[in-house]
């Protein structure tokens, strides 16, 4: 196959890699399932179909080595082989998935693909011992199509095509059966579109005298018969027209879901995938019963971003309009136009809100797309370390912005691998500790306000606080004096410090130091946060919080000195007022009492990052100030503000401003009147506070 243009070709290639990734994911899942239930014939068929597709796709893309290997592997995936090697077939499938993955990676980088020698050895081992028995030729046509074939047939019929089951019985006296097969296959192919063919690929098998096909054609049965009745070869031809789709509804749904999943994997939500409803299935009409994938649009993510940006501009425009109308209402309080203005404004706001939601939805994908990789990760670690580990997942349907989800892939994989590798003890140790031999890693995702929380927890040995502190002191990250003042939670936070641990000390401190600083910075880059809880002997939980979207937030606006700031409304616990008399100094820190809790008081103008740009504070008299109590990841602190402005939806903008580039600011926004608002990065403020020991009350 040659590509007509470079652009076309690269588009196809992208599509190929995308669908190949899906195929490999499917192989991994099926392989794991087969490991649990070795006799699952349907799973095996799934793998076979997947490999078959990969074979065809890769051949079409010119990736012949991959195609050939897939072809060889396909031969192994028969029920006979699987039965004979129930114990190892799952393993080989997983090895194959890995091998294909490596080859794909090489192709993607325009490198020479690995030969896949290990897989070839497995294949020949499986094939050698299960000498294939020649299948007896079917004497009568059965048209025993696979599910996939039946689907193609059902779809063709729904699209208004005429589909026939055609069986050509070869004359047993015909010379050269292989050539006869070839001719007959060609004849059938020339008679219409072949939806299904037996023997597969039309390849001749010793002793076989029957070729079956499902044919979509505009020709009459008589014409088909004449065409397929190849002289001196065919003995007879039988034709029956297929009228009703005989595919089970479940299959159709499966395909729909699959195509949706594929679309989602590429970050696109089918806007209106045809529902597999009764009407569509029964009408069989030309219109309204299109192939499901035809209702899915593949759109470059950049285009959606453009729309999102424009929506953002419109929100700013709306805010400008609101201000103008408010002014107009003040100056023309009796003008009847007032009502019309506010009606129009309300309508516009509502539509704009819907528009924004819709665009955001397009970018959303369920976290399952990430979670589904992890069973394999856990399984591999368990095998490698000879442990018994289960993975439980919840909340897979939680939606998250695709770009955020992509950015979470690495950190999450890291945490899951760590949990399985270092968190979970081996069976003997677990039993000795009175725990079940099988350890469990939990993955959980849920919405929490404007955030999505993903938790990775294990029921393993937990973190050793003493060792972490010792390590921290050895590495010069903290002093002994500081260490003595850290509470439980704060000392655990140390493991996020760069350089706390290196790989060779992994197991000594439960391996929780390796690259965790990387996890932390990845989360901070996403305007999110990572926290952890750990109990010795009971396990560790990492909680990652990320914003639902990077595009806009609902925020509380306030003023400190002459600057406008905002915090995400979700992080605001309460608002209170205190007077200077309520503020006490502890260890160079200001604290205040809120009911029975002592909280750190943060003054933005005193934080080092902001101090330079703010006038020196001189206005602290005995007046009462507003304090926004901010709750972030189990920690609470108070934020002293000069005045509260109100709640507003902010569209996050990238601004070139030295203040914005501060890690304590997660972004900026522009109000309708052109004022710039800085959005505080609450998790960063929290961690900024906790970098200085002995502050930051924990909830």
């Amino acid at each position: 196959m040659s590509f007509s243009s470079d652009e076309h070709s690269s588009e196809l290639r992208d599509l190929f890699f995308e669908s190949a990734a899906e195929i490999l994911q499917g192989m991994n899942e099926a392989g794991l399932a087969l490991e649990q239930h070795p006799g699952d014939a349907e799973k095996l068929r799934q793998v076979r179909r997947a490999v078959h597709t990969l074979k065809g796709d890769s051949a079409a893309c010119g990736y012949h080595q991959l195609s050939e290997l897939a072809h060889e592997f396909e031969d192994v995936l028969t029920p006979e082989v699987a039965q004979q090697y129930a114990g190892s077939i799952a393993d080989v499938i997983l090895i194959a998935a890995d091998t294909f993955h490596e080859m794909l990676a090489a192709y993607r980088g325009n490198l020479q693909p690995p030969s896949g020698g290990a897989l070839r050895e497995h294949i020949s081992r499986l094939l050698r011992k299960s000498a294939p028995e020649p299948r007896p030729a079917a004497s009568e046509a059965t048209f025993d199509w696979t599910e996939y074939d039946r689907l193609l047939i059902a779809e063709a019929i729904r699209n208004g095509e005429s589909v026939y089951n055609v069986a050509v019985y070869l004359d047993p006296r015909a010379p050269l059966p292989a050539a006869a097969f070839e001719l007959t296959r060609k004849a059938i192919e020339s008679a219409g579109k072949v939806l299904a063919l037996r023997p597969e690929g039309g390849a001749y098998q010793e002793g076989s005298l029957l070729i079956e096909a499902a044919l979509s054609t505009a020709q009459t049965p008589d014409w088909i018969r004449a065409r397929c009745h190849v002289p001196s070869i065919a003995e007879r031809v039988s034709i029956e027209e297929l009228r009703a789709p005989d595919a089970a509804p479940r299959d159709l749904l499966d395909i729909l879901l699959e195509s949706e999943a594929a679309a989602l994997a590429s970050g696109i939500k089918p806007v209106a995938a045809a529902p597999p409803d009764e009407d569509a299935r029964e009408s069989g009409a030309h219109a309204g019963a299109a192939h499901p994938s035809e209702n899915t649009l593949r759109v470059d993510a950049g285009r959606i971003d453009t729309v999102m940006n424009l929506v953002g501009e419109m929100i700013i425009g709306k805010s400008m309009l609101q201000r103008a109308v408010a002014e107009f209402e003040r100056s023309h309080s009796s003008d009847p136009l007032r009502g019309k203005f506010s009606d129009a404004l309300a309508f516009q706001s509502r539509v704009l809100g819907e528009l924004q939601k819709s665009v955001m939805k397009i970018r959303m994908v369920p976290v399952d797309h990430l979670f589904r990789r992890f069973p394999r990760v856990v399984r591999d670690v368990a095998r490698h370390r000879n442990k018994d580990i289960g993975l439980e997942m919840a909340g897979q349907n939680t939606d998250l912005d695709k770009s955020i989800l992509d950015a979470l892939a690495e950190p999450l994989a890291h945490l899951v691998r760590n949990a399985a590798d270092h968190g979970i003890e081996n069976a003997a140790e677990r039993l000795a500790a009175g725990k079940p031999a099988r350890g469990t890693v939990h993955l959980n995702a849920y919405h929490d306000g404007d955030e999505v929380v993903i938790e990775v927890s294990d029921d393993g040995r937990g973190l050793d606080r003493e060792k972490i502190l010792r390590r921290g002191m050895e590495r010069g990250i903290i002093t002994a004096e500081e260490a003595s003042r850290l509470n439980e939670s704060e000392s655990l936070q140390l493991i996020f410090a760069p350089g706390l641990s290196t790989a060779d000390e992994v197991t000594e401190i439960s391996g929780r130091g390796v690259g965790l600083d990387v996890v932390k910075s990845a989360l901070e880059a996403l305007k999110g946060s990572v926290e952890l809880q750990s109990r010795p002997g009971q396990g560790t939980t990492f909680r990652l919080s990320v914003p639902l979207t990077l595009a806009s937030i609902q925020a509380l606006l306030f003023r400190v000195l002459d600057r406008l700031y905002a915090v995400p409304i979700a992080s605001v616990g309460e608002i209170t007022r205190i007077s200077d008399g309520d503020v006490h100094s502890v260890d160079d820190r200001e604290v205040f009492q809120l009911r029975d809790q002592v909280l750190t008081l943060v003054r933005l103008d005193r934080l080092e990052r902001f101090a330079s740009s703010a006038a020196p504070p001189d206005r602290r008299s005995s007046k009462r100030v507003f304090v926004i109590v901010i709750t972030a990841g189990g920690r609470r602190f108070g934020l002293a503000v000069d005045s509260l402005i109100g709640e507003e939806e902010l569209v996050i903008k990238a601004l070139e401003d030295e203040l914005v580039t501060s890690p304590l600011v997660s972004g900026a926004s522009i109000l309708g009147d052109g004022t710039v608002v800085l959005i505080l990065n609450v998790p960063a403020v929290v961690s900024h506070l906790s970098r200085i020991p002995a502050i930051g009350a924990t909830a």
């Binding site: 070839e182 008589d222 002289p231 001196s232």
Partner: protein, 148 residues
Amino acid sequence: MKQFETLTRKDSQPVRYLIVDDSVFARKSLAKMVESFGGQLAGEAGDGRTAITEYARTKPDIVLMDITMPQMEGIEAVEHIVQQYPEARIVMVSSVGYQDNILAALQKGARHFVQKPVKPDALYEIVRYVLNEDGVTAPSIVVQEDRR
């Protein structure tokens, strides 16, 4: 020799044949056969190379091509001819034991095959089928009910 219902082109002209075989005897007997179908001998060739030039010169409706010949084998000739004239209708003629060669020829674009010794009935059906397939003959498709 048995007379067959005449195969005629749509333009009422006789079907024209190019017969390629290194054996003169084989060529003559095939020529007689196709004449009994109402056909006309457009040309003859004793080897693959000549077959190619003869095809270009005569543009026949059907080529009957032997598999094993000196100078250039039948398969190679098929490849050359089909490459240049994709519409060429070539029927391979072969002796027993050349299954692989036949398969290769079919894959190279030959349209059908017949085994030596060639039976007139079989060749007639094959030629008719191949011509019908391309709509060369008048649309007189006889629907063959399964006779067996």
